[in-house]
Amino acid sequence: MRIGGWMTLGAALLVLAGCTSGGEAPKADGTAPAGDQSKPFKVALLTPGPVSDAGWNAMAYKGLQAIEKELGATVNNQEATGSQKLDAMRSYAQDGYTLVFGHGFEYNDPAAELGPAFPDTFFVTSSGGKTGPNVGAFRFYLEQGFYLAGYTAGLMTKTGKVAMIGGDRVPSIASTFKAFAAGAKAARPDVVVIEKFTGNGQDVAAAKQATLAAIGEGADFVIHQANAAAQGVFDACKEKNVKAFGANLDQNSNESGVILASAIINAEPAFVALAKDVKEGKYKGEVRLTGMAEKSIDYVFNPAMVDQIPVEIQEKIETERARILSGDLAVPKDEF
């Protein structure tokens, strides 16, 4: 029993109220052509968690802000999980939104379900495999960044153990962790990869406790997928004097001073480019894979700590980066 349950109930009631009143308004009837210039360009974003998490959700919110600024779109966003997803997406479509972003693979199913009913609205999700004329996805190839972080950790670990700390064990997070493990093993085949999950991305104390447990098992490099709870991971690393990697956003400047490098998503260019295509009527439902070559994914060293990485190790990492960029190395990723 958590507050989340009550929030869900409250939000469900609100959505219900929205649906009832929406019933009197004319529904989307499919007569207006897509990309009609006379209509205001409206873009909505749905996130699985609060956009203030300085991570996965924050990054999408920044992308939405960029769309508002660069394309002059009217934007709106809300948090929606579970059964709220379908209702929230339908509400946006009924309100005449041209583009509805669902920031997570879990929005792909509802998108595929709603697509045929709302031909004037484009439903695009961050990862997910189902497509249609107005249903698509883009898939951030964050695994590339995680692979390089794992590769760095594998080259540098003294204990031979590295750790990954996650919030929810969802397929997208599991896939990045697999890439981190693959990178670490490529650098050092006998490396031990420790994996811990707390069950949510907001419980800072739990993330810290999980990290302490991993460090207790000998890990001396830690990467996370803990969103707002990431500070707990960094705090544990600081207490035990081990190194960490930032994820999703560039967290190198975190005042814990433990972050060697960050595997980041530059969501803004991808979000804006996609919204532009939709606005100009050029978007076809598809899965767009966007990674390092498209500059959507990057792996950046912390300038304040890069001198702690021996030059020959830096060179090895750059070689690996070049192999990824040239396409010689396909970093493993799950399809979900």
Binding site: M1, R2, I3, G4, W6, M7, G10, P50, V51, S52, D53, A54, A58, M59, Y61, K62, R169, I194, E195, K196, F197, T198, G199, N200, Q202, D203, V204, A205, A206, K208, Q209, A210, L212, A213, G216, E217, A228, A229, A230, Q231, G232, F234, D235, Q251, N254, E255, S256
Partner: protein, 285 residues
């Protein structure tokens, strides 16, 4: 890990300890989660602004008392339903702390670190020492003092207290404010003693766990603190155990609660909740 689990279990222990006194006076605080969240946020901001984690703890206590005054006005003074008001407090605290956090650190948030409570010896900081002192003091107070007797009587049969010439309302107010102060302290300790930062909804269900711990500890101060630390210990064990086998992590995450349930099956017989728990008292004339 050693004794580090004490720090992670202490927030629930503080909240449960205060709640046990409240419940013994018949005051049920479903809003504990919200109290802790407010205490956490206020402690985070005060510690960040002053650089002093002790002031942060104090500020958390004040936040808890203020929230208890509001809740007490509705439930004790106006005899509103305690469950309904408590639920409203949870929603209020979640919304308020989210809004304030976003107003200060931007809608996309920021990872901020605040100074931590220094450890004095071993893993023990001022918070853990305070927890030890408070559980002894409250046990003695509840069991041996006249006020403790009155507090217990108000939770069992309020008319008896009134006929003895004491004010049921005043005793309930005292218990509610004490429970509020402890809940605020619990949230504050979560920030300055454990997490050293704030995140939306960071209490993550600890308030509800604390309410369960009161039942688990049979409404006795010692019992609820030991119960809380016991569950905290299993929680620290599950983090060490998970990931070592093919068993799903969700199974390990549920272990503390399974452990608590199991213990409850064996120790739960006989003891009963205070008879007037959650029942508003309207003075008989």
């Amino acid at each position: 890990m050693g004794l580090e689990f004490l720090r992670f279990g202490a927030p629930v222990a503080f909240a449960a300890l205060g709640e046990s006194i409240g419940q013994r006076a018949g005051v049920l605080n479903i809003g504990l989660e919200g109290f802790m969240l407010m205490g956490a946020y206020v402690a985070f901001r005060v510690t960040g602004a002053t650089g002093n984690p002790y002031l942060g703890l104090l500020a958390g206590v004040v936040a808890g008392v203020v929230l208890a005054l509001i809740q007490g006005f509705l439930t004790i003074h106006n005899t509103a339903d305690q469950v309904v008001v408590g639920t409203a407090v949870n929603l209020l605290a979640l919304g308020l702390t989210n809004t304030l956090f976003r107003a200060q650190f931007g809608k996309s948030g920021e990872l901020v670190r605040v100074p931590s409570l220094p450890t004095l010896f071993g893993p023990f900081d001022a918070g853990l020492i305070l927890l030890g002192i408070l559980v002894i003091a409250l046990s003695l107070w509840l069991a041996r003092s006249k006020w403790g007797l009155a507090n217990r009587a108000v939770g069992e049969y309020p008319p008896a207290v009134q006929s003895a010439g004491l004010s049921v309302t005043r005793i309930r107010w005292q218990a509610a404010l004490l429970a509020g102060a402890f809940a605020g302290l619990a949230g504050a300790y979560l920030v300055v003693g454990v997490a050293h930062t704030f995140a939306e909804n960071m209490v993550a269900g600890r308030g509800f766990v604390a309410i369960a711990m009161v039942t688990f500890g049979r409404w006795r101060p010692w019992g609820v603190v030991l119960a809380s630390l016991f569950v905290g210990y299993i929680d620290s064990l599950q983090y060490q155990w998970q990931g070592r086998s093919a068993l799903p992590v969700e199974l390990f995450q549920a272990l503390p609660y399974l452990g608590a349930l199991l213990v409850l099956v064996f120790v739960g017989r006989g003891a009963a909740a205070p008879a007037a728990l959650g029942v508003p008292y309207r003075r008989e004339r």
